[in-house]
Symmetry: D2
Subunit: 286 residues, 4 copies
């Protein structure tokens, strides 16, 4: 955790000799002070990943100038890259249904500045949490998702997301399956919390599935949403122990504690630019 | 988890042949349907512990009558015992300071009825959370704790607790050391969450202590408050992994997730009459 | 852990009022001192489960006499039941292939008397561990499993198991799929350790499957073997955290630590009569 | 895990702009292919740590030449550094007493080449494991530690360690407190496994201490041995859940599973040059 302003460079490229030397050499030439750096080589497909935090006031150039000067090197390395400024707060849109545990948890983290973000708005298919959300000074939108006209509902969600210039959409137990169009519009920008340890128990009622199978641990999975239900790249997972005495209701209750924690961790990694999507997997530089 | 109303019998007594038979025999004679039952013998000091849930409508007698009929058997067994009715909500008083994670967490559990209690009031040495608490329809009392007159402050806390007929007092990161008088007044009824894995790092700034010692896991402990600081009977503990890259601030952040979860679990065990204090230890029938 | 000799009664029956009272009443009438007792009601199908440890020398009757006197009560309660004597060591047959981690682990526990059993023999489809096993004074049988004549191999395994009067068969990373006949012959008596957190990654190469899916935790499952591959009742499971930097080989290595621990825990529960099979699930009284 | 031969550079130095660039620049100039690299800045005292794996056959120079060419840069950066060759197996001396769990565990890992080391010899104050160790083809030395002449015993341990050119000494539940001389002779080269979650329960009988305090988790700690008992830099720790029903004997048994796993992980980190001692703490690049 660094209180001082910093820039975060995230990049991937084909592996070759000298990548770190050239990238950190570029930063050193500009007197950039590296706070944190992580590197990973995928041996199987020869791709290289990196994340570097540079203290903002150590660099004598603005981000725009950094970007234009760095581009030639990035081109030579055939790099996918971006650089973000810690002073620019990410704009998050939260989608909820009728369960409060993830919503309360996210708002507490936002209140305490643990999550240093803007919550641009909360969208829900129910009006349940309007008062709670608005009390926090956050706009709330009730967008019902009628069975016979989901398309219109998701179009409205997308319109609201665009209107507030959302960076990230968080499905905080939204309990609705987004349209393929919406999924495709924001790859790597929509996070979901699924209430099972994927790939076990895909789809509806995972705790019932877990109860029936008689597993001894239950879990939760934070993943990027793709068109394939519960199949997107996994960011974070965790589990909790149960036993034969736990009913489905007990499992639901235990599960909530895992869900909100896993969602918060996954969201934090995402917002701090610690996650690089690699095919259907993720590199997470914790 | 049982939706139907039930009575919970909690008891301990010197161990001897036939305790379970006599107690469950008494219940069976009255047609009592046992939902859940747990027994434990402490081999070292020969004390016996039990917890039995009986379906309320299976018994043809009211709790008062049960109590008077059961007393002779309890006397014969030299039993410490009590029986509670799941339909009578416990009255909880929450004490907080300026950190929100435990407060938000408890209120979310209360809102969703996961914790099926009355929150009689919230007391704080700061006015920070008045709005948030009152929005939930819960009375909020600002009771400053001045360095030179703590006694008066704790007397006021006690007065408020008595006034609302509080059953349980929860120090949800209250950050103040209660007076010995207050501790002594409510043995086994005041729960604290300490932000370390006790007995490591007693007292102030445990995360700083943990950082200095270089431990690889940090933890939290929910315990009953006694006059000896951080020495009371432990109800629940948990830990989370850290590493060399984590600053004290990171540890504080990680720690919050453990603190609120451990407090909620410990409180739940307490409220469901699953905790029996035994010397400076606890029997927890999960 | 009780050093003194004891009997363990394990039973299940349809739920009704008074089961505990009648069973523990029977024991109390015979002056039986109960060391440990556990009860569980399955709310969904109304079945009741129990496990009771009685100090052997507190009872004035031998096990055979206990059995005959208890039978009428068991009949009235329509009970499936058995009672075992802690002084009679269980006879375990271990099946291994070419990986040593589970074998070394089990033999260390047997050497230190942590597992107080007879290892009747070790059977393997390879001759790799003959010297190691025989050094411990345990008979070793090399039973190759040729692709074109597995039936004969499994018949030989069964013959050896019968010959040594085996109680329990342990597949300690045996890496072979037993014949349906063998599975059917010993329901609830053959334990396997599967190297995934079932139901994820059934079948071959689960670590490769886990790598491909990009999960953030890997696990192991100890279960009873049934004819349906990796579908039997689960006794115990656990997981360990991995990340993007871990190759399949790393996962295999981490996994071994989980496999041997989970197998040892599951086996211990089984040998101590703590596991009751209930449909395709288990009740495990820890 | 890399099958191909590689060199591991481990270093620390005062933090300044350009360290990574200069070190990786040096490697890139020599065509060194970096397999894995980790960096860490300690914000409090401004020290910088790194670990870099370079594929051996990518470098056109031998290790001796690498060392002499790199030294001028290391001098400029005021670096503490070393570079090791994965093809040179570390020589480990294991000290045991009468408990087998860690010994069996280490030998299983050595047999399977999970730990790719030489076990130069095993030293014990008892003769218990001579047969087992020698069966593995490893020299065994019985060095009694009489209460009235411990100095001579530790002198003999040191003589044996020197004689076999030991790199690392592992106290695998040795149950003896080494002399200050021996501790001082090999800083950062003697690993111990302590059977508690330090700093809780320092010294003798930690499980008894844990039982008395009524903790809900017990643990184990792998640390470097220093003259201050159980106070050395911590490499790895873990915990396991217990409850009121667990006796001291149960805790000892559970504890063994944690002890051997934590020791094996800590030893592996040490042997793979993933641990840098920093004051009384460690940087562990996993």
């Amino acid at each position: 955790m660094h209180r001082a302003r910093f820039y975060t460079l995230i990049a991937s490229c084909p592996d070759q000799v000298g990548i770190i030397a050239r990238v950190t050499g570029f930063i050193a030439e500009h007197k950039g002070w590296i706070l944190e750096s992580s590197f990973h080589a995928d041996d199987l497909d020869g791709r290289y990943f990196m994340r570097i935090e540079v203290k903002a006031d150590s660099l004598p150039l603005h981000l725009a100038e950094f970007r234009s000067r760095f581009q030639p090197l990035a081109d030579k390395l055939q790099m996918d890259w971006r650089i973000n400024d810690s002073a620019v707060k990410k704009r998050v849109v939260v989608l909820v249904s009728k369960q409060e545990h993830c919503l309360y948890d996210l708002l507490a983290r936002w209140q305490s500045k643990e999550l240093d973000i803007e919550i641009a708005c909360v969208i829900s298919n129910h009006d349940t949490f309007r008062g709670f959300v608005e009390w926090h000074g956050i706009p709330f939108h009730h967008v019902p998702v009628p069975v016979d006209n989901k398309a219109a509902a998701y179009a409205e969600v997308q319109r609201l997301f665009e209107e507030v210039h959302g960076d990230t959409m968080v499905l905080a137990r939204y309990m609705q399956i987004l349209s393929p169009e919406l999924c495709a519009a924001y790859p790597g920008r929509i996070l979901n919390i699924h209430h099972s340890f994927l790939p076990s128990f895909v789809g509806a009622k995972p705790y019932h599935q877990a109860y029936t199978r008689g597993v001894k641990l239950i879990g939760a999975t934070c993943h990027y949403v793709t068109e394939a239900l519960d199949q997107g790249p996994i960011i974070e997972q965790d589990v909790i122990r149960i036993d034969h005495s736990d009913s489905v209701e007990d499992m639901v209750r235990y599960g909530k504690d895992i869900e909100k924690t896993v969602l918060a961790r996954g969201l934090r990694y995402h917002l701090e630019d610690r996650v690089l999507v690699h095919g259907n997997k993720t590199v997470v530089f914790r």
